[in-house]
Symmetry: C2
Subunit: 324 residues, 2 copies
């Protein structure tokens, strides 16, 4: 975080991010779908130009850079969606971008990040290499600004614009604003942003089995990291070892509990989105829908579900939709 | 056609349909995508509640029925998307719907039509049974109104609303209205509607190999049916033996030529939509995109491509995206 921003993200910052985003990106559709006899509202962030909501935070962050900072470039750290968000914003603003990505990231995400003109530096996630250390070295060497995937006030505010956008979309179609927003959760950038954007809605973070650090942190009242032997997960976008103080500070006073979904529940949600919504949703992007379909969260006619991304390889997607 | 409507569809009728549709359905997104270095605009009709644009014509037609006609019910004839459009509109309006569908229609379309509360009557398409004769018998027996899938002035006008909607969406994002609209073509309902809606745009119908009756009719200056031994096609939505006078009357003075795409080109388009747009597009729905990707049609920054539907079985879709 730099001195240019207050230490914490704010609701005002979310509104500011919304006005910047509205100039360049139309709202993603809010699609009604029936689950157990109840109409709920799916926010199709997989239809963003980069196939994920991360474009929001990246745009808000990069447009806030001063001229000298722009000239020194940016460094992002990401399994793929934040990578593409930073690369997309950097390309549009003429900023040099370097992205630190795990060597086992989906090929589709590596290729797409490079296609947007970013330089990709790989790190050994399976071998336990510390990606933040790699990024810090790059920033120290070049003077570039680190754009963290979730522990950044601008990024949190940018992701929160989903809440403002869906509330406006529901206004014309429901009898009131969202009562509940169910969202996939990795490090807690999106759910912290939603908490600020929609103060009257219940925010429900959903994490994949074994990677439920936010759920456990909320239960413990302090930040708890995932176990060092956490199982592999298809939800690469949600595979973060722990949330950070800037996120947890927002979440702990605001979010009552988190939910966990199994690999089978995630695949069922991908199949449902394929059949009923005609959308390609990646495993991590389907986590919130998975919780809804599994009956793990209460649903009413003003429940919104974020489908956060759609960047998945054909092989993996085919396997998911052919299930069970 | 009944006496309530002028004998031919009109641009005024398209505008009237648009005002009725805008009350119940938000615009489908218009998604930019780069093809051969050129940004073009994809109209994602696969995101309609029934997964296809046919909801437009069906709504315009059924809302025009008089009370006595509503009470006698409607009969539709369709391989699946028009079926769901009629069933959806009928359910919402409290009208009894019977749909004549081919016994070899995709299971996903048969199931979805029944789930919307319509009665499905199967006919033997592979065996050459005349679906129109089946529908006529049903109408004669019950007094129901036939809602033809494309040879109906209201249906043509309703489908044309896609043109008005995408022109409005492009207004804010391009330097002018569409120069060209490339659209999948079965019987010519959509392309006739687009011709009326966007009089300044070139309309390019795209048909699957062997089912290019509209292309050949345009070339001959008169209606020509497909060969009786036309090959099987995965594009079930475009599998119509011939266009009709009401459609051809609009098309012949307005559309210069039609295009044909191969099965491999259609699958490549489905893969492209999966990877780059995160959309599930059925074979027939991908025909226009297939022509663009194959370099068969000129593209500029004001070219729109209609992705007309997304109702496809998981098995078939998995095969298409795993191709080649």
């Amino acid at each position: 975080m730099t001195a240019q921003h207050p230490p914490a993200p704010t609701a005002f910052g979310v509104a500011e991010a919304m006005s910047k985003l509205a100039e360049i990106l139309p709202p993603t559709p809010l699609l009604p779908v029936e689950i157990m006899g109840q109409t709920v509202w799916c926010k199709a962030e997989c239809l963003q130009p980069i196939g994920a909501f991360k474009i929001r935070g990246a745009w808000h962050r990069l447009t806030a850079l001063k001229r000298a900072e722009r000239e020194a470039g940016v460094v992002g750290v990401s399994s793929g969606n934040h990578a593409q968000g930073v690369a997309w914003a950097a390309k549009r603003l003429g900023i040099r971008a370097t992205i630190v990505m795990p060597v086992d990231a989906p090929a589709i995400k590596l290729d797409a990040t490079r296609a947007l003109g970013a330089e990709v530096v790989l790190y050994d996630r399976p071998g336990g290499e510390d990606r933040d250390a790699v990024a810090a070295r790059l920033c120290a060497a070049s003077g570039a600004t680190l754009v963290h995937a979730f522990a950044d006030p601008w990024v949190i505010e940018g992701q929160g614009t989903i809440g403002l956008e869906l509330a406006a979309q529901m206004a014309g179609r429901c009898d009131g604003p969202p009562t509940r927003i169910v969202a996939p959760c990795g490090g807690g950038g999106l759910t912290a942003g939603l908490s600020l954007a929609c103060p009257d809605a219940e925010i429900v973070p959903v994490e994949p089995e074994g990677w439920d650090d936010v759920r456990r942190s909320l239960a413990a009242g302090e930040i708890v990291a995932v176990a060092s032997d956490a199982p592999a997960t298809a939800c690469d976008a949600l595979q973060t070892p722990s949330t950070r103080p800037i996120n947890f500070a927002v979440l702990k006073g605001r979010v009552r509990f988190g939910l966990v979904v199994t690999p089978a529940e995630v695949r069922a949600a991908q199949r449902f989105a394929f059949e009923r919504l005609h959308l390609v949703v990646e495993p991590g992007g389907a986590a919130a829908l998975a919780a809804a379909l599994a009956g793990k969260v209460a649903l009413d006619g003003r429940t919104a579900i974020v489908l956060s991304g759609g960047n998945t390889d054909a092989q993996a997607f085919a396997k998911a939709i052919l299930g069970p």
